[in-house]
């Protein structure tokens, strides 16, 4: 790896850093917060107008029985179309997004989503097909789904897949239901699932939802699973272990083969949480490490949109002995045709299927985007995604190791976990304050206070899509924040950040202690 010292250009002015990428973007126009639609409301104002027709008007009493009529009109906001559009446009301009600037939110893989994927998903031949169309009328869609299943199996080293789960956590639950079905089919139902202390919070939640008990196993000083501690909790009550590799510290579980052997020895299964697959894409396959069940977050590794309320997709791939338990119906190629021409597909439900985990065939247009991403990159391109993601994270780790503490001084994978512990001791400025200050600098904040095993954690995942110039701009912003914290006034200012955004520091504690989830429209 090139020494970061050689790659930084302290003599360059800020303006020069625009060449090669403009990372810092402040979308936050104006210094006041946007009022709600109710505050904009003016009695009698409307955003709609009905055409005059020759249909005679009938009194409501004649059309609806009293039991179905409300006593008073609903208290909706009364605004013009102009005000309505202005309101939502202003809100949209105040959003930070992956399309706008660097979004190093660790563990979330907020990479740029290529527009070609959206273009494919909007093709009428895909977008306009009704999910209830018979197989004879949706052969193209089925070919796409089979091809994606095969690609995901090839990438993860697995034998079968379901594309149904709606996102990561839905994939986790699906995986645990598969684990349960498999043990029950062996005539050996089990009670416990092992999870490392550095795991994503969804893992223990899914374990509980799947009807299992969580057993936590501690990490060692190198940030990986303590093999002896693991062996001490393994027995025939353990259904399996859920692991993220690289783990949430961005570190590769070096003992993974020994871990797999130990878990398999007691008859348990290995579940791979695909949250961090971006680090190993095309380099190593979970199947080769000994995993039995894998979930993938298409919105992370395969660059499909990250929700915002929109649909996600969390396909699950499994090894051969679990394939007959997969959710159904699954698309199946019954005739390969000649070079794909004349291929024929049908829907089948695996013999011992756990049943549906989503209506229809999952969030299909997200699946179309993911296949596009895979095909556009190809084998070599996917490997390069992982290599660049790891390179970028390590470059930042080295570049920032003087700015913050580096609790694990070893190469990381796709993200690095630093700590603001020394900064806090010196100045009282905490990881949370650094995150808020970064908003003022025009960057999205990194993940803070996760994983829980690192005090004052800052978890930074630059992803492969940010340029060297962007990384340097981000690092310089961190340097400035830490330098400013060196004076008492600067430190005090940091604890009040962000001060230049429309919504300033929110009181998270008060919001959680006295939660008011409703808005009184009459006030």
């Amino acid at each position: 790896m090139t020494d970061p010292e050689e790659m930084t250009h302290p003599e360059k002015s800020e303006a020069h850093l625009c060449a090669g990428g403009r990372a810092a973007s402040a979308p936050l126009l104006g210094h006041d917060s946007e009022p709600t639609l109710f505050e904009l409301s003016e009695p009698g104002r409307r955003a709609w107008q009905l055409r005059t027709t020759k249909v005679p008007e009938a009194p409501l009493e004649q059309l609806l029985p009293e039991v179905h009529r409300r006593g008073a009109p609903p208290a909706l906001a009364e605004v013009s179309e102009r005000d309505l559009v202005g309101h939502f446009t202003r809100l949209s301009h105040r959003q930070f997004s992956v399309d706008l600037g660097a979004y190093p939110l660790g563990s979330c893989t907020m990479k740029y989503n290529p527009k070609v994927c959206d273009e494919v998903a909007s093709l009428p031949g895909l977008a306009d097909v009704h999910p209830a169309a018979p197989a004879s009328c949706s052969q193209g869609w089925m070919a796409l789904l089979v091809e994606l299943e095969e690609a995901l199996c090839a990438i993860t080293g697995m034998a079968g897949a379901t594309l149904q789960p709606a996102a990561g956590a839905a994939g986790e639950l699906t995986g645990l239901l598969l684990m349960r079905a498999w043990h029950e089919a062996q005539g050996q139902p089990r009670r416990k699932v092992v999870i490392p202390d550095s795991a994503h919070g969804t893992n223990p939640a899914s374990v509980t939802l799947g009807g299992y008990e969580t057993v936590t196993v501690k990490s060692n000083a190198r940030g990986c699973i303590d093999l002896e501690a693991l062996r001490s909790v393994l027995n025939t009550e353990v259904a399996g272990i859920m692991l993220t590799n690289p783990n949430t510290l961005g570190l590769f579980e070096e003992d993974i083969v020994a871990i797999a052997e130990a878990v398999h020895e007691v008859g348990g299964l290995l579940y791979y949480d695909g949250a961090n697959l971006n680090a190993i894409l095309g380099v190593v396959r979970p199947g080769d490490m000994g995993f039995d069940i894998v979930h993938l977050n298409l919105h992370k590794t395969f660059a499909t949109p990250h929700g915002g309320g929109g649909p996600g997709a969390g396909p699950v791939t499994v090894s051969r002995h679990l394939a007959s338990f997969l959710p159904g119906p699954r698309p199946r190629r019954v005739d390969p045709g000649v070079d794909g021409v004349g291929a024929r597909y049908e829907w089948t439900t695996p013999q011992r299927s756990i049943g549906r985990v989503h209506s229809w065939h999952g969030n299909a247009l997200v699946l179309a985007r993911a296949l596009t991403y895979i095909l556009v990159h190809g084998d070599d391109g996917l490997r390069e995604v992982a290599e660049r993601a790891v390179l970028n994270a390590n470059w930042l780790r080295k570049r920032l190791s003087g700015t913050f503490d580096a609790p694990y001084d070893r190469p990381c994978m796709h993200e690095c976990v630093l700590s603001a512990v020394s900064l806090k001791r010196r100045s009282g400025v905490r990881a949370l304050d650094v995150a808020k200050c970064l908003l003022e600098e025009g960057f999205h904040a990194p993940t803070v206070y996760f994983p829980l095993t690192v005090e004052e954690a800052l978890m930074i995942e630059p992803t492969e899509t940010e340029s060297l110039q962007t990384l340097e701009a981000f690092a310089s912003a961190c340097d400035r924040i830490v330098a400013r914290a060196g004076t008492p006034e600067g430190a005090a200012e940091a604890t009040e950040a962000p001060r230049t955004t429309p919504v300033r520091r929110v009181d998270e504690a008060r919001a959680a202690r006295s939660l008011v989830p409703t808005y009184d429209t009459r006030r």
């Binding site: 919070g201 206070y449 996760f450 829980l452 005090e455 998270e508 504690a509 959680a512 202690r513």
Partner: protein, 126 residues
């Protein structure tokens, strides 16, 4: 960090005080500082029995959810119900008004087996 010398401690950052046959417990100043603003406390039920190290309840802060472990085995005989409306007492007065519950221990020797203030202080400075 405040570590009162008359209390006993666990490596899970909880304090205990033995008084009139009961062990009153809570989380330490170090714990409340590390957790940050505490927003919710899930208390055990009075009358429930716990093993030493067994889960008593949960403390939720703006950063995380952590379990509370029983410092000694026994029966829960009192809980600090005021925490339901004022979980911030764990931050403002962890050794006083922020106490969590009282346990009637099965074995009163278990208390003397807990860490003393000097050992706990060493633990958090290490």
């Amino acid at each position: 960090m405040v570590v009162p010398c008359e209390l006993r401690y666990t490596s899970d950052h909880e304090w205990s005080r033995f008084h009139e046959g009961r062990v009153r417990m809570g989380i330490t100043d170090y714990a409340q500082d590390a957790l940050g603003d505490i927003v919710f406390v899930l208390l055990p039920e009075v009358g429930s029995r716990v093993e030493q190290g067994g889960v008593l309840g949960e403390v939720e802060s703006t950063k995380s959810v952590s379990e509370i472990y029983a410092p000694v085995a026994g029966e829960v005989v009192a809980i600090n119900g005021s925490l339901a409306d004022a979980p911030e007492k764990l931050n403002s007065d962890p050794y006083g008004e922020g106490w969590i519950c009282e346990i009637s221990p099965v074995d009163s020797d278990a208390y003397s087996g807990l860490l003393d203030a000097a050992s706990y202080e060493q633990l958090i400075s290490g």
